[in-house]
């Protein structure tokens, strides 16, 4: 090679190297509690104290950076390989958290502000992620998590993918005419007063968006009970069993005294539903939306993303 080419080559390499190693400057973010959280670099050792946080972290490609999770973080499957710091029986094991030497602990509105104080008292950096109220809030959270972990590009790509899928669903649903009334069962330990999702919950929003009507939307409060008589009076078209994971089956529902006359029972319109999809404010909310659409409008099922 000539001298000139060598110099250009060397310059190119240097430029490439310089751009690849971005200068690391401390970044400050504001969390849901209006706290200013400063990270000198994207978080590399994260402890996630909510299953939704775990799903968000893995979804933006930061799974390798998660060093600790809580007991209920079971999605994706790789999360189960991460050591757990407790949470299913009372409090988190603070010693385990400290021993993991995390540079970020990710909380949600599930957690009390007192916990934030406790963790800060141990010298840990805490970020408090707010619960999304509408899907747009979810996208914001994804972007935030992307920034915190240094995966902005992947976060943006995920958001783009989610929004396009949601638009597709909106389009398809707009083309349907019926709006079945559904009853979303959260818990029926007492079949005379089952628990369901009320107005404002994601179940409620997603069911509407998927072209259905949530029977619980006329009730008061987020997680509410409905009396069996009222259920029979309203006679929903379909029943979704959000408590399927606890062993409730359509056959059991059909066998409940007084429920046998519901049209959902006689027409066999009882379906199991993975409640994790709609109770965890993570990217799988969109999967939940699509699943609702599939159940509510089987005619468009094969066109759904």
């Amino acid at each position: 090679m000539t001298m000139k080419k060598t110099i250009i080559f060397a310059l190119l390499i240097t430029v490439l190297l310089l751009t690849a190693c971005k200068p690391v400057t401390p970044q400050t973010y504001t969390d849901f509690l209006q706290r200013e959280v400063t990270l000198t670099q994207p978080a590399q050792r994260i402890v996630s104290l909510a299953p939704s946080n775990t799903e968000l972290l893995f979804a933006v490609g930061a799974g390798e950076q998660v060093v600790g999770r809580e007991d209920f973080s079971d999605y994706p499957a790789e999360a189960l390989d991460v050591p757990s710091v407790g949470g299913s029986m009372g409090d988190y094991n603070l010693e385990a958290i400290v021993a993991l030497q995390p540079d970020l602990v990710l909380l949600t509105e599930l957690h009390s502000p007192e916990l934030v104080h406790s963790l800060e008292g141990l010298g840990l950096t805490v970020f408090y992620l707010g619960n999304p109220v509408v899907l747009e809030d979810l996208y914001t959270n994804i972007e935030t998590v992307g920034k915190l972990t240094g995966h902005e590009n992947e976060a943006a790509a995920l958001v783009a993918d989610l929004t396009s899928r949601v638009s597709k669903v909106d389009e398809l649903v707009a083309g349907t005419t019926n709006r079945p009334v559904i009853f979303y069962e959260l818990d029926a330990t007492d079949p005379a007063k089952p628990w369901t999702a009320g107005p404002g919950t994601f179940v409620d929003q997603l069911v509407s968006r998927a072209g259905g009507v949530n029977l619980g939307s006329s009730l008061d409060g987020a997680w509410v009970q409905i009396s069996q008589e009222e259920l029979i009076l309203r006679d929903p078209d379909m029943i979704f069993l959000g408590d399927a994971a606890y062993g409730t089956t359509p056959e059991q529902v059909a066998a409940r005294a007084g429920w046998e006359n519901l049209q959902a029972v006689t027409k066999g319109q009882i379906s199991s539903f993975d409640d994790d999809l709609v109770s965890r404010p993570g990217p799988r909310l969109v999967d939940g939306l699509i699943e609702f659409a599939r159940l509510l409008h089987p005619e468009i099922a094969d066109q759904l993303p």
Binding site: Q34, P83, D91, E95, A96, V98, Q101, E114, G121, L122
Partner: protein
């Protein structure tokens, strides 16, 4: 005729110190004893440096304060339990008999169901409210017991039962309505220090020390009261006043313990009972021995709570409750009819 042997005190103190050491050593991360002493030494000589190693953080910020908190709590509950067993002349009395725990529980449950603004939500919000609620409840009980003109022991217990039932019912209702905080309230009611660090220790310390100190002076009074209110008065005691002092001291102590460590059962019931069966009926000995033994008992229970399903922790109230069954069976088999 003189039974001032120091032996029971030394034995109990030794058990307590061993328990404290064990409590600092044991957890989901077992720290060898030599490392503990090394860290203490570094801490004392100030050579820990800027970046505290995780073992030191665990010891100083988590385990040591927790050890002291639980020792104080155990001491508070056992001394109160001993005082009430003496005051009410009932071996089944425990520190919660006149309602302080159910009242504090209601306060805590209500406090936990409110989303406090971040600036307010220090580690003290719940304990302070629980503490106030506990004391108000005892006040209600004492006033209610006065209704039949004499705040005799029986009317206090009855009033305590009445008010406890009420506050427990309201607690359950509040817990049911605020489903989000249900788990947290339940854990608190099961008993376990949900607070970490030195702040709860500093918060509880003045009340516990004051209350336990006052109770420790009431040993002789309780001895006299064993013969009933009438004979105690005939022997020259101002029975009503002394009873009130015992109640105030015990309530202060118990409210502090419950507010910072949750409702831990059985420590206050079992410890004085065992001490009494082993060391005789003299309350001037029962009270201090119960204080030390209660601290040791709770620490040992907490150590068990930390290791039995590590890395998860069982709320310590469950461990103490589990000791209840074997204890009562033991009492049943051992007791001579006229003793219990």
């Amino acid at each position: 005729m003189k039974e001032n042997t120091a032996r029971p005190y030394l034995v109990t103190l030794a058990i307590l110190l061993a328990a404290m050491l064990l409590s600092v050593a044991v957890g989901s991360v077992v720290i060898p004893l030599k490392d503990i002493f090394a860290v203490f030494w570094q801490g004392i000589t100030g050579s820990l440096g800027e970046q505290i190693p995780p073992e030191a953080a665990i010891i100083f910020k988590l385990r040591l304060p927790r050890t002291i908190l639980l020792a104080l709590t155990g001491a508070a509950l056992a001394s109160s339990g001993a005082a009430y067993q003496g005051l009410f002349r009932n071996p089944l009395a425990d520190p919660y008999v006149i309602g302080v725990a159910s009242g504090a529980g209601l306060g805590a449950v209500i406090a936990m169901s409110i989303r406090w603004p971040y600036e307010w939500a220090s580690t003290f919000i719940i304990p302070v409210i629980a503490f106030a609620a506990g004391l108000v409840t005892v006040l209600l009980v004492v006033v209610l017991a006065r209704v039949n003109r004499t705040s005799s022991s029986t009317s206090l217990v009855l009033a305590g039962v009445a008010i406890s039932s009420f506050t427990t019912a309201v607690s359950s209702f509040v817990m049911l309505k605020s489903t989000g905080e249900l788990r947290r309230s339940m854990v608190w009611l099961l008993g376990g220090s949900t607070l970490s660090g030195w702040q709860p220790v500093l918060g509880m310390l003045p009340y516990a020390v004051l209350g336990i100190g006052a109770l420790l002076t009431m040993g002789y009074t309780l001895n006299v009261m064993q013969f009933g209110d009438e004979q105690a008065a005939q022997m020259g005691l101002r029975v009503g006043r002394r009873r009130l002092i015992v109640i105030v001291a015990a309530s202060l102590t118990t409210a502090a313990a419950v507010s910072f460590s949750g409702v831990i059962g059985f420590v206050g019931l079992i410890t004085p009972h065992i001490v009494r069966l082993l060391a005789g009926g003299n309350y001037r000995r029962i009270l201090p021995l119960s204080t030390l033994a209660g601290a040791a008992f709770l620490l040992l229970a907490d150590i068990l709570a930390r290791v039995v399903i590590a890395p998860q922790e069982v709320p310590v109230g469950i461990i103490t409750a589990l000791t209840g069954a074997p204890f009562f069976i033991w009492v049943l088999r051992r007791s001579r009819p006229e003793e219990v």
